[in-house]
């Protein structure tokens, strides 16, 4: 099948009176890595649970690998692999037994199972650990085993719900390497994340999702380019007045006021615009304290489209998951290799 592996039309989902998913439509193409980027509680997990048939579809239409999620759940289940947000491995079984069990519940033939287990242990560098019990693995290895398990049945699409949540940056980057390798082998990947740099570095296309709605979809570059080539950050003695002045300039596309600084999107090359901006502000009797020029990052993209930072902060790529784990009910602290 060429074209779209996932097709979602007007999907809606409510918990009681709370609308968690609000009229979402998107498609995921064969062979790409597609990310849902958004804060906790934006509705990402709900969408993934509906697509993986773990939650009943309430309203709208969703097809995975050509199968209707509501009408052909078993065909969907046979087409997908899942890595859940929370670690869920059997700690009392070895690495290869965990994979063996998975192969068995999907009715894979014995020969096929052992061959696939060998391939996957190699892919995830767990060959030397194959007889190690789940509980004796490090956090990163556990995640890799889950990755291997998700791929056991050679799924058309692999779903990952916050695959690197709570991991330190090294472990996270290694995980990305494995995911790129899986993509190279032709598996479509759908992932949710609230880490900006994860979406940025890994995905072919990103949907920014907030309050149950998709705000914008595009490649990382497309999204960033919409903000112009460069962004100017200014700190002045009177940000409010400075913003007024800047908004009247033709070369300025957009000004957002932060608590401390002004973020300025511009239409032209920064080298020409910056002197003009500074002159205008000084002419208004405002003192400039700090000037900073930056290439737009996913953070900027997020702020631009949603009008706020990722809630609970921490989207800025410092690799620290503090605060988020608690919120998700996960007890793991920072997990490292």
């Amino acid at each position: 099948m060429t074209g779209n592996v996932i097709e979602v039309n007007n999907l809606e989902h409510s918990y009681g009176s709370i609308k968690a998913v609000d009229n979402i439509s998107f498609t995921v193409k064969q062979g790409e890595i597609f990310s849902f980027l958004g804060p906790n509680g934006a509705g990402k997990s709900t969408v993934i649970n509906i697509l993986t048939t773990l939650r009943k579809l309430q309203k709208g239409e969703a097809r995975v690998n050509g199968y209707d999620v509501a009408k052909e759940p078993n065909s969907v289940r046979r087409s997908i692999g899942i890595v859940f947000q929370m670690l869920c491995l059997d700690h009392e079984m070895t690495v290869s037994e965990n994979l063996e069990y998975h192969g068995r519940i999907y009715s894979m033939k014995k020969k096929e199972r052992s061959k696939r287990i060998e391939e996957l242990l190699k892919l995830t560098d767990l060959e030397s650990k194959k007889d190690t019990l789940g509980k004796d693995l490090s956090g990163g290895m556990k995640r890799r085993l889950e990755l291997a398990r998700g791929l056991m049945t050679k799924p058309a699409v692999l779903f990952l719900d916050e695959p690197t949540i709570g991991f330190d940056i090294q472990t996270r980057m290694r995980m990305w390497e494995y995911l790129r390798e899986i993509k190279r082998e032709g598996t479509t990947i759908f992932l949710t994340t609230h880490y900006m740099e994860e979406a940025d570095q890994l995905s072919d296309r990103i949907s920014i999702i907030d309050h149950g709605k998709i705000i914008v979809t595009g490649t990382s570059n497309e999204l960033k380019n919409k903000l112009g080539k460069d962004l100017i950050y200014l700190e002045t003695s009177d940000n409010k007045a400075a913003a007024e002045i800047l908004r009247s300039l033709v070369s300025v596309k957009n000004v957002t006021e932060d608590t401390k600084s002004l973020r300025i999107m511009i239409r032209e090359d920064v080298t020409h615009v910056l002197p003009q901006i500074m002159d205008e502000i000084r002419r208004g009797g405002i003192e400039i304290i700090i000037v900073n020029i930056k290439k737009p990052s996913m953070d900027d993209v997020f702020v631009h489209y949603t009008g706020h930072e990722l809630r609970e902060g921490n989207g800025n790529g410092n690799g620290n998951g503090n605060g988020n784990e608690k919120q998700q009910g996960i007890e793991t602290a920072v997990v490292s290799e």
């Binding site: 649970n49 859940f84 869920c88 998975h102 068995r104 519940i105 009715s107």
Partner: protein, 277 residues
């Protein structure tokens, strides 16, 4: 026809044999019951009832042989009642998610665990029968080889159906409660009347009427009686009580246990279909 329950069964048995402590205690426990409780009880019962005259012409059975059937029933009751606990932990540690997200029908999850419990129960049953011989428990006395085989098949079937019934009950509780303590106290509560209001250890002739009636419908009594039918014969006396088991009794025991197992299966399915990820 799908066979996914085999995967569930495989996992349960793998873990059963992996943990030697679990395996060995489950094997030793019935022997201990028989060795300590059984011998002590049978000695005192025999002493107390030694003066009671037996009916002439009726074969007399030692109390320990009578009680042996009850020990089997008791052992199987406890192991199957606690057998569902695995589901509670699987749910608690989100292990169930993997299986629930797979194409395995939910009924197969219960069936797979049920069959593993049956396997374990049969191990224990035959350990008791085997060890019992050493301490004077006389099952299949005077039976021909064919009769013995038929009796073994009969006991196997009864124990299997009984185990499935209580495993389904235990599974429904396990999937509903949230913590091990809750599970533990519910199981203790459930097991006590089932165990004591039955013919497992003693005849019910001396029971007050309402307990007698309850006991007659107790799966535990049906199992203990059924095992006695197969292991001790249809006509014997123990402690001065004359027992006659008829074909009707054994048919009732089978039907009663099958009915019980089916009711418990539907309870388990009902609870299971409510499980959300």
């Amino acid at each position: 026809m799908s066979f996914e329950f085999r995967a569930i069964y495989w996992r349960e048995m793998l873990k059963y044999f992996r943990y030697k402590s679990m395996l060995i205690t489950s094997m030793i426990q019935p022997v201990m019951w028989l060795a300590f409780f059984g011998l002590a009880m049978s000695d005192s019962f025999d002493k107390l009832t030694s003066l009671v005259p037996n009916e002439p012409g009726v074969p007399v059975v030692a109390y320990i042989s009578y009680m042996g059937a009850g020990i089997i029933a008791m052992d199987v009751l406890f192991s199957s009642l606690f057998g569902g606990t695995t589901l509670m932990f699987d749910k608690k540690f989100s292990l169930l998610r993997e299986t629930l997200a797979s194409p395995v029908p939910r009924s197969h999850i219960i069936l797979g665990i049920g069959l593993s419990a049956v396997t374990k129960a049969l191990f224990q049953t035959f350990i008791i029968i085997g060890f019992g011989r050493l301490v004077g428990m006389e099952f299949f006395k005077g039976y021909t080889l064919i009769e013995t085989l038929i009796a073994i098949v009969g006991i196997t079937l009864l124990v299997s159906i009984f185990t499935l019934g209580f495993l389904f009950l235990s599974g429904s509780i396990a999937i509903t409660v949230e913590n091990p303590e809750g599970m533990q106290s519910i199981l203790t509560l459930v097991s006590m009347p089932i165990f004591f209001v039955s013919t497992a250890l003693y005849p019910i002739d001396g029971f007050p009427t309402f307990l007698k009636v309850l006991s007659m419908f107790n799966p535990m009594s049906l199992l203990a009686g059924g095992i006695r039918y197969f292991a001790l014969g249809t006509n014997f006396s123990v402690m001065g009580n004359h027992y006659i088991y008829t074909t009707v009794d054994i048919v009732v025991a089978f039907l009663g246990l099958i009915f019980f197992a089916l009711v418990m299966l539907s309870a388990a399915m009902w609870r299971f279909n409510k499980v959300d990820i």
